[in-house]
């Protein structure tokens, strides 16, 4: 345990700690930019430099190991001056475009510039003029803003193993680019948006579509209907200054009505429906010797990943559409009839924790209702902006109710938002359907939590069903390689593209560390716990939907509206 002194404060830190970690221990703040707490050390921005006694050169705190007897000064005039110069040099290549930037007021570089009182930059502003990449329906890149920290590359290549991003050239010419210097759409990018959370600035972001929503609301002929994904509520509060999980559902509904949505419904409803369809699909495959293991298909980042990297295993994917798309297909058929609203007048919006959902909604096959099933996808962040723009006071807003027919949900729908949730929800239902008995304990805790790959075995009246759960595509890849090799012991595998599941989705409030993901997971299970009904097959609106319209799981209507197929993505370079 090296003992070191930081700004006169003595601390003992574990062997192998960096100065930065020691400083955190001592309660001393050292600024960082390229450093990311959940990633490897990069040490390329130099903003964290400190004075170390005995060394002429300033040392980067994020990479320099703390050694016995080390004496560090983190706030001497020499250090502050150096950091200021480093910032000025970075800013000399950064568009002075903060007012127009998606990350205005949520940018690490902007905060540093404010903290270090950057006023008149002595260095001449030289922006590279590379222009934006708007090639995908979900993400944009703005390479002029890139500070070359390489955090997005690590998110994409190490965490997700998608490898859509890399560095091109070096020195002055160095730039983060999609594969082979192409546009993002030509790279293997699956639009999960994890790079957005990794980016300290506004060099990557979601394609913002707030104006499209406002135009629909402004049109008196249009009936604007929305669905809210399971992981949205608990994180949306963060966007309006509330602790994670604290924004009540009925207040969120009131907020959306204030903005002008004509009807507020819930994706949790189709999450429950997904369990009915997918649970029966699993049972059918088990009984009739269908392709196993079956993979869940709710996460469009994951299904794209499968289409891109494992096209040989597409038959293992459940044919169930994601809850978003099931909702879209039903809202313009079943719900339109129930409400007596012509489908042609419905503008269906979904509020999602996800960037890949923007892409999913635009897929040409997602028009089972005869119209585009989901007209517009807005991320949690976009709705957060809309709430701030509208000046809503959530402390004072009177609660409001959902519209009927597609808004009731159970705790099983709620937990779709966390890794392991779809599996747990499926097990709750499958168990009762198969055994005809009531589950003694609905909590399958083995499938919960942040462990990369989780597994469990469930005994269904003599039949052992082995399941696995992976979140983050790097973990998914491991499970998939096993399936490809014919060595997978599992019957059913849940995969979510994003670390932690949808609560950590690419459209969620900027998530700086995994700690935040853990808080959100906690909030998911609290919400489930508080639900009176926690099994999808007991959702009375879902029961009614089957009685009046679908008739049976996997039936003719379900097949037409709720199931889909996948296509190998013809990506030339991976």
């Amino acid at each position: 345990m090296p003992n070191i002194t930081i700004d006169g404060i003595k601390v003992a830190v574990p062997e192998g700690s960096t100065i930065l970690q020691a400083a955190q221990e001592a309660g001393v703040n050292i600024p960082t930019l390229c450093h990311h707490p959940d990633q490897s050390v990069k040490a390329n921005c130099r903003i964290c430099v400190c004075e170390v006694a005995g060394s002429n050169l300033l040392q980067a705190a994020c990479s320099q190991p703390a050694t016995e007897g080390m004496n560090v000064k983190t706030r001497s005039p020499k250090v502050l001056e150096a950091r200021k110069t480093i910032l000025e040099l970075i800013l000399a290549n950064h568009p002075q475009d903060c007012l127009n930037c998606l990350r205005n007021e949520n940018c690490e570089l902007q905060s540093l510039a404010a903290e270090y009182c950057i006023r008149d930059n002595p260095f001449e502003l030289k922006v590279r003029g590379l222009g934006k990449d708007l090639s995908t329906p979900a993400l944009f890149r703005d390479p002029d803003k890139c500070v070359l920290c390489r955090r997005c590359i690590e998110a994409c290549s190490v965490i997700q193993t998608v490898n859509a991003l890399g560095i091109e050239y070096r020195g002055q010419k160095a730039m983060v680019v999609p594969t082979l210097g192409k546009n993002l759409i030509d790279s293997p990018c699956i639009m999960c948006g994890q790079c957005i959370h990794a980016c300290p600035v506004g060099a990557i972001g979601e394609i913002e579509e707030i104006d499209e929503l406002l135009a629909a609301i402004a049109d008196p002929e249009t009936v604007v209907v929305t669905q809210i994904a399971p992981a949205v509520r608990l994180a949306l509060g963060e966007e309006v200054g509330m602790p994670t999980g604290d924004l009540p559902m009925d207040v969120l509904v009131a907020g959306l009505r204030q903005i002008g949505f004509d009807h507020v419904l819930h994706t949790n409803f189709t999450a429950d429906l997904t369990i009915m369809e997918e649970g029966h699909e699993l049972l059918k495959r088990l009984k009739e010797g269908g392709k196993l293991p079956m993979f869940t298909s709710c996460s469009p980042g994951w299904t794209s990943f499968c289409e891109t990297f494992f096209p040989d295993l597409l038959d293992n994917l459940s044919t169930c559409k994601s809850p978003q798309q099931m909702f879209g297909a039903l809202v313009k058929t079943y719900w339109a009839d129930k409400m007596n609203i012509p489908a042609s007048k419905i503008f269906s919006v979904s509020i999602m924790p996800c960037t890949a959902k923007k892409y999913e909604a635009s897929r040409p096959e997602m028009q089972s209702s005869g119209f585009r099933d989901v007209d517009l996808v807005l991320t949690t962040r976009e709705i957060g902006r809309l709430f701030r723009m509208s000046g809503l006071d959530f402390e004072k807003l009177a609660p409001a109710d959902f519209s009927p027919w597609m808004s009731k949900y159970t705790g099983a729908g709620v937990i779709f938002g966390a890794s392991g949730g779809v599996m747990e929800a499926a097990l709750r239902t499958v168990y009762e359907v198969v055994t005809g008995e009531t589950l003694a304990d609905v909590n399958f805790t083995a499938v919960r939590g942040f462990e990369g790959i989780k597994e469990a075995t469930v005994n269904l009246k003599g039949t052992e069903v082995k399941v696995a759960i992976a979140h983050g595509l790097g973990n998914a890849r491991k499970v998939m390689e096993q399936v490809r090799a014919g060595e997978s012991p599992y019957h059913f595998i849940e995969i979510m593209a994003c670390p932690g599941g949808c609560i950590g989705g690419g459209g969620q409030p900027i998530t700086k560390t995994n700690k935040k993901r853990l808080e959100r997971i906690q909030a998911v299970y609290e919400e489930d716990q508080a639900c009176a009904v926690r099994k999808s097959h007991l959702n009375t609106e879902v029961q009614e939907l089957y009685k009046d319209f679908l008739h049976e799981p996997l039936g003719h209507k379900s097949h037409e509206l709720l199931h889909t197929h996948y296509q190998a993505k013809d990506k030339k370079f991976l």
């Binding site: 594969t179 082979l180 030339k572």
Partner: protein, 150 residues
């Protein structure tokens, strides 16, 4: 061009990717996209990474170049010894600007950093072969054999 054949020779070698790129470039003067994609597959790395290697080293080019790549040293000693005049003479002789290639696909002009022959500056290299003490008058003589050797 059969990249697989070239790549196969280097796949077991440590750092073989760079050697393989050299070998491909010896044939084509540049690294076509297809070569990078195939190299990535053979070496079992993502294409994004193989492209990173191909662009990191200035001796590789991912853009088509002439059969003979003439590189003019622009580091300080050569600069002082009159590299600028050599540049002007080469540009005039070939009718192209620095960075460009002749329409017949024979020559490309590029800058390089110090090539370690500062004792006899200015220096140019043609496909890696150094020519020292270059002056504008010597240019056409130096190019002569390359022009014939189509």
């Amino acid at each position: 061009m059969d990249y697989q054949k070239i790549l196969a020779d280097y796949v077991e070698m440590p750092g073989g990717l760079i050697e393989a790129f050299h070998a491909i470039q010896a044939e084509l003067s540049y690294l076509p996209e297809e070569a990078i994609i195939q190299a990535a597959q053979v070496f079992g790395i993502p294409a994004a990474q193989a492209y990173g290697v191909a662009t990191f080293y200035s001796m590789f080019s991912v853009k088509p170049r002439g059969k003979f790549v003439i590189r003019i040293c622009e580091s300080a000693p050569c600069h002082i010894a009159g590299a600028a005049k050599v540049v002007a003479a080469l540009e005039k002789e070939l009718g192209i600007n620095m960075g460009g290639s002749t329409p017949d696909g024979l020559f490309t002009l590029e800058f390089t950093e110090c090539v370690g022959q500062c004792q006899a500056a200015p220096v140019i290299t043609i496909n890696g072969k150094p020519y020292t003490d270059v002056s504008p008058e010597k240019i056409s003589g130096i190019l002569e054999p390359y022009r014939k050797n189509i």
